[in-house]
Amino acid sequence: MSDVVDLAEFRTAFVVEAEELLTTANTSLLDIEKALRAGNKNIRAVRELFRAVHTIKGLSSMVGIEPVVGIAHRLETTLRAADRAGGSLALESIDTLLEGVRAIAKRVRALADGQPVAEAPSELLDRLERLESATPSTARQSGAGALILDAEIAGKLGAQDQAQLLEGLAQGRRALRVDFIPSPLRAEAGSTITSVRARVAKIGDIVKVVPISVPVTADAPGGLKFGLLVVTSESAQALADAVGVDPGMVYSLAAPPAAGILGAVLEAEPEEPSVSRHGVVRVDVERLDDVMERLSTLVVTRFRLSRALAELAAAGADVRALAQIMNENGRQLRDLRAAILRVRMVPVSEVFERVPLLVRGLSRATGKQVRLVIDAGTAEVDKGVAERLFPAVVHLVRNAVDHAFESPDERTRAGKPAEGALTIACFERTNSQLELTISDDGRGIDRKLVADRAHRPLPDSDAALLELLCLPGLSTRDEATMTSGRGMGMDIVKRTVEQLGGELTLQTRVGVGTRFVMHVPVSISIVDAFTFECAAQRFVVPVTMVEEVVDIDPARLVRGPTRRGGEAPRLLERRNETVPVVQLESLFRLGDRGGEARKALVVRRNGEPMAFSVDRMLGQQEVVVRPLEDPLVRVIGISGATDLGDGRPTLVLDLAALSGALSAATLEPAA
């Protein structure tokens, strides 16, 4: 039992580590490609890539995901040869290598999601293998090949065995290794090492069977596997079929002919990368969430303490000493909170690491040329915010390449550089807000086209245009393109930003370009909030969302005519501005309060003010917001819940989203 648990824990660590290595691999590949295009070699990047792939292979075999081991092994072989040849790699091989890395990434994801890990596609393995033999020079001398053997296996082979393998290669046959893991399950299915030997012997010569120890897993209960070293004229696939394993378990033993290497080569692995970032700890976000959760219980306890203190004081007790301690305690909690928030911060530049790869793929798929500039400076963002925001960034980038940029010809005709300029910039504004800009110099967004598509009147401003663009299901292209046809629409981008308590704005000029700006808070967990009461229910709203709390004089409220027999619309005059007043209790059907509300919270969205009337304000305090993410309770205008100290959840309102939804509803043609 404990083995299983340990393994699960190990897998989580594996996924984290592997994803980091995959990012390195992708970045290195792009660097290599860039150097190759410029006619240079990037030896350092080749070596980094090799190390990343090598480590992935090692980790994967520890966890026992054979498909990844198989792919990584083939990548590794090619890269080792490239490394030995001084970093020379064919430009054409980059795509295949990227594909290999992608195939690994997909399987690591599957493992992380608890999904079954797909076998290594044999077609990809074949292509990777062809790279091996084509790298770095295609001159394969007849008769003189070399063997690639893991140190463990090499140690168990006699000179005679190696000679036999080399001889097989010299005859133009294949020298392959296939791994078979004995288990009771496989024995039941008729596969034992004896039966496997017999089947393999039919299609080739078994040079040696080497036992290799592996970690005990459900798949390898004996902690043992056999490596069969085979000389055969058949393909790797045929050998895999004979043994009854994934083709990823078949490895070529033929080393690509590299400069001056003859005979058997014992593994001279590069040293494991030393701990590169000294003193850095990788932490699962969930653990940080857990710490935050614990802090929030402390904050709640403090609310209760201060309430008890107030009661004591009210009863006439001398609480000066206690109050002093409470003050100090409050300061400490704030410091602790700030410290935890700092731990959760990641550099924004890290968030954007995956963008160049995305742009490269898009540019390939569309045939458009893109010059990508990323300027994230030193800005940092909460990991949780980053994870939510990234899909929105991806969508905007896709849109830019896919829709905004003209074809190179079209651009040249318009007097623009053939390369489209895509800029992603990010900096932190003083009030803990991040400003993230994604701009392009493409064709701009045609208001009329969007209006026609949405069957709405022509928008008179960029803000109104954005509203139209963000209508669910709107697409300005007829055909679903390869790259943007799926995925989320602008409505989801907008909702993502708004759920984070941020704002999305747009500037566009036809023929000149488009700029999307997202303002999002740097972190979201704890916010300063107003508490108020409405129809006997308590609510909370972030202070930053409220422009002003105003008194309402019922006598001065202007009531309009009733449209559908419902609540009469009310208007409030405030500093030469007309503000519609929404009664929260009727909007939320909370029942009657009796009498007119005396207070209202004014929020502003897209420049338009709206007031929400409430019964009374209760105060202002810091609250820990827990998002309400279950689909059963996902409601526009409600962003989460918090505990005010009574052990019950109190709803946190997103009045800005609510006002947006209400404005949209009134724009709706009457049903």
């Binding site: 909007l587 059907r589 909370l590 059963l632 526009i636 409600i638 019950r648 959840p649 109190t650």
Partner: protein
């Protein structure tokens, strides 16, 4: 191999779900209403620092609502990352059910119950409906506004 099940009552009928899908059981002291939530959701409660929606099984199963009593219980179930509390009339029993006691629901019931009932367990005279928790808390908004 017998499997431990939590048994609860809704409208006089006994239902059960596997104990390992149940996070915990709680007495019910009211929930914070969430305006505009899916039909049958009476609100949210806090369970071990986590905020979970409360789904009234009477409403979900198309029965008349009744006021909560001292016997009312929350059965907090888990499905992947989701935790949802089921509000039931009472929940007192834990039962071991053997596979041979369990049979598929009669076709008519399978059609009528929207897939909420996964199987029927027979113990002598007693019939217990095994619910499909995933279906019961299904993502589709029954009556979204």
């Amino acid at each position: 191999m017998s499997i431990l099940h939590v048994v609860f009552k809704v409208g006089g009928t006994e239902y059960a779900m596997p104990a390992d899908e149940v996070l915990q059981m709680e007495s019910y002291g009211g929930a914070t209403p969430v305006p505009g939530a899916a039909r049958g959701v009476v609100g949210i409660v806090q369970v071990r620092g986590r905020v979970v929606p409360v789904l009234d099984l009477r409403a979900r199963f198309g029965l008349e609502p009744i006021a909560a009593t001292l016997n009312s219980r929350l059965v907090v179930g888990q499905d992947g990352a989701r935790s949802v509390a089921l509000l039931v009339d009472s929940a007192r029993e834990v039962l071991k059910l053997d596979p041979e006691q369990i049979e598929p629901p009669p076709p008519m019931m399978a059609d009528d119950s929207q897939g909420f009932v996964r199987a029927v367990a027979r113990m002598g005279e007693r019939l217990v409906m095994l619910i499909d928790f995933k279906r019961v808390i299904g993502e589709e908004r029954l009556h979204g506004e």
